[in-house]
């Protein structure tokens, strides 16, 4: 018998990368101690390059000082995966969920994140697929439309997925995206002929795909959620 599971959805607009990291750390501790239920952050970042735990900075093709000139930040993180770019018009989901509660391992979790983006793309007639071995992420042909980088700590997830709605793809020229050379990056705008609705609609569709794939029966929407104040209590 499946227990009804609720998901708290934080719709956050544009959030600075470090602020989002600090928020995730707070939410992870609360989730570990069962103070909150499964939560997902829905947001986008200002232009930001990030590296994973393996610190593959050889895949940054320009000096770090150049990034400031183009108005981008660089951050080293504990997530899996290689170097990537986040920016406006790229939809990000950071699920803070307990994998142990649903008996999922890393591989199945990442597969479901891939499926989330594949399903969203299909709403616009775009046939996307999961990458093969060593190419985790979501592809349209040989072009990458969605990236994944996850951290799992005591069975609680953080970081997550990034889906290109219509980011400025020139930013990807300064890196070897995800460490995979010779493969293009693409976006929903490039791959579909359909007129796209507002991004808010696309973000909500992404959340719905996620919720359905992870069998959340009950969604609690939190609009314009503030960053947690320092006393650690929301609202």
């Amino acid at each position: 018998m499946r227990v009804p599971r609720s998901l708290e959805v934080w719709k956050m607009g544009t959030v600075n990368y470090l602020d989002a990291l600090k928020l995730q750390d707070k939410l992870i501790s609360r989730r570990k101690t069962h103070k909150i239920s499964d939560t997902v952050l829905s947001l986008q970042h200002p232009p930001t390059y990030t590296l994973g735990k393996r610190r593959t900075d050889h895949n940054l093709l320009v000096p770090e000082s150049d990034l400031k000139t183009i108005g981008a930040e660089l951050h080293y993180t504990q997530r899996g995966g290689d170097i990537t770019f986040h920016g406006p018009h790229q939809a990000i989901l950071y699920p803070i969920i307990s994998l142990r509660d649903i008996g999922l391992g890393a591989r199945n979790y990442v597969e479901k994140l891939e499926l989330t983006m594949i399903e969203l793309a299909s709403l616009y007639g775009v046939k996307a697929r999961a990458g093969g071995v060593g190419e985790t992420g979501v592809w349209v042909g040989e072009r990458k439309i969605g990236a994944i980088g996850v951290r799992i700590s005591s069975g609680i997830t953080s970081h997550g997925l990034a889906f290109n709605i219509d980011p400025d793809l020139n930013y990807f020229k300064h890196i070897v995206p995800c460490g995979i050379a010779d493969k293009e990056v693409t976006s929903l705008r490039r791959e579909t002929d359909l007129v796209l609705p507002t991004e808010e609609v696309i973000h909500e569709q992404l959340i719905s795909c996620f919720a359905r794939l992870f069998c959340f029966s009950d969604l609690i929407w939190k609009e314009d959620a503030p960053i947690l104040p320092d006393n650690g209590e929301a609202e």
């Binding site: 994973g52 899996g80 391992g105 890393a106």
Partner: protein, 155 residues
């Protein structure tokens, strides 16, 4: 079919490997286990630690293992390193408290040993146990097999 299964479980028993009913993850009889899917092989006051077959199967191909420094302290249930697979870094937790006396350097060049040989060549650290009474709280192979079955039934 039933006869075949009986033979298989008897053979597995004889070989000191217990195979859970669904038979997709192996469990080794004399090891101790924790619910975060690490195992400990205790020899006197030394524990060799790694992740289980169930864990490596659920992780996918391991591409990177973050090892602690020799001499570092670990505590029961605390994280001592991480593995990366399928763009996910997963913390690994110690079943016992103590001091790290050796780490498996081979994993730096061959992280896949964790997948191919989770109980032998894929061992991760060796710890000098500081609190032997902690061993009483660890699961044996039967308890761990049952735990895995219950966890996998959740989805």
């Amino acid at each position: 079919m039933a006869g075949g299964l009986l033979w298989a479980t008897r053979a597995a028993s004889y070989l000191r490997i217990s195979v859970p009913f669904r038979a997709f993850s192996s469990v080794v009889k004399d090891l101790k286990y924790v619910d975060s899917h690490e195992w400990a092989k205790v020899d006197g006051n030394l524990a060799t630690i790694g992740i289980t077959d169930h864990a490596q199967d659920h992780l996918g191909d391991v591409v990177y293992v973050e090892l602690p420094e020799v001499g570092a302290n670990v505590s029961q249930g605390g994280s001592f390193g991480a593995v990366e697979s399928v763009k996910a870094t997963s913390d690994i937790n110690s079943p016992v408290s103590g001091k790290v006396v050796e780490v498996n350097e081979e994993l730096s060049s061959s992280p896949g040993l964790v997948n191919g040989s989770p109980y032998e060549k894929g061992w991760i650290i060796k710890v000098e146990i500081s609190n032997p009474s902690e061993l009483n709280s660890l699961m044996d192979s039967e308890q761990y097999s049952k735990f895995c079955e219950e966890e996998d039934a959740k989805h």
